[in-house]
């Protein structure tokens, strides 16, 4: 059943060139990226290590397309890690807002050819697309601002979440 869910953008980490954000649903204790790490740290240590090091390199280079494989249409700004070069079944999905801002979402094990074929992964991507759409709308209305590495303004938003 469809329901509206409220969430907040949370600054996770700051670096000289890049800031990492995630989002937290109002009834939950952790952000989606923290939940992802806690779920897979022990069972998929190598994949988590690869993703974490990819993020480390992104802090040096910036949030550029070459670091990601894009999920869905490029204009959605929704992408996945690790990139096409690394071999791993674990995927994390994110929104590449700008070369200086990355919003990290949730993810999981990819056991199907495409993420669309997996309900859970598809939901992760669709959630990000909805958030991205809301962010674009708020930006146009000058209610949220992406300035340098920072997101300011209304950091709380609502999306229609199908809860699968």
């Amino acid at each position: 059943m469809n329901s509206e869910r409220k969430l907040s953008l949370i600054l996770l980490e700051e670096y000289e060139k890049v800031n990492f954000y995630s989002f937290q649903f109002e009834d939950e204790a952790h952000t989606e990226f923290e939940k992802f790490l806690m779920a897979f740290n022990e069972s998929h240590a190598k994949d988590i290590g690869t993703i974490m090091y990819r993020l480390e390199r992104i802090t040096e280079d910036g949030v550029f397309p070459r670091h990601f494989r894009y999920a869905g249409k490029h204009k959605d700004r929704t992408a996945e890690l690790p990139s096409h070069f690394e071999t791993a079944n674990l995927r994390i999905y994110c929104i590449c807002i700008s070369p200086k801002i990355l919003i990290l979402g949730n993810g999981g094990l990819k056991t199907t050819r495409t993420y669309n074929e997996d309900n859970y992964l598809n939901n992760c991507v669709e959630t990000l697309k909805k958030i991205d759409f809301e962010l674009k709308t708020k930006e146009k209305a000058h209610r949220i601002h992406f300035t340098g590495k920072n997101i300011t303004g209304e950091l709380s938003l609502s999306i229609i979440y199908d809860g699968k």
Binding site: M52, Y53, F85, E86
Partner: protein
């Protein structure tokens, strides 16, 4: 600078092998982008050279293609620039390497290879 404790914990899982693998893949990607930039080429030019559609090349360079050795060799041949240089085991002595900042040189792990540090510093 703000840090996240859960992320810090996960960072402990980064091994030297993971670093090597990720660094290597980033170097390959950067090298391809640099060659295109150096030659003043766009994705459509590479697509024409490879006999592929621009959409397919766009996928390759945007990260939806699983690169393999054949693909890399094909790009290398068509661009007439080396992407990866493998040092033969037979060559124990390495002379002056004229490398650019992002040339990728793969050295076998056996002992006995030395790189003149002055050459490295001067070239980079």
């Amino acid at each position: 600078m703000k840090r996240n404790s859960i992320m810090e914990e996960s960072r402990k899982l980064i091994t030297p092998e993971i670093k090597q693998s990720v660094d290597f893949s980033i170097d390959i990607a950067n090298r391809i982008f640099d060659i295109l930039e150096m030659k003043g080429m766009k994705q459509k030019d590479l697509a024409r050279l490879l006999g592929k559609s621009e959409a397919e090349i766009s996928k390759w360079l945007k990260g939806t293609h699983n690169f393999n050795i054949d693909t890399i060799l094909k790009i290398q041949t068509k661009l007439d620039e080396e992407i990866i240089q493998v040092v033969s085991k037979a060559k124990k002595e390495i002379g002056v390497i004229n490398w650019t900042k992002r040339d990728l040189i793969v050295l076998p792990k056996e002992e006995g290879y030395t790189i003149n540090s002055k050459t490295v510093e001067g070239a980079a």
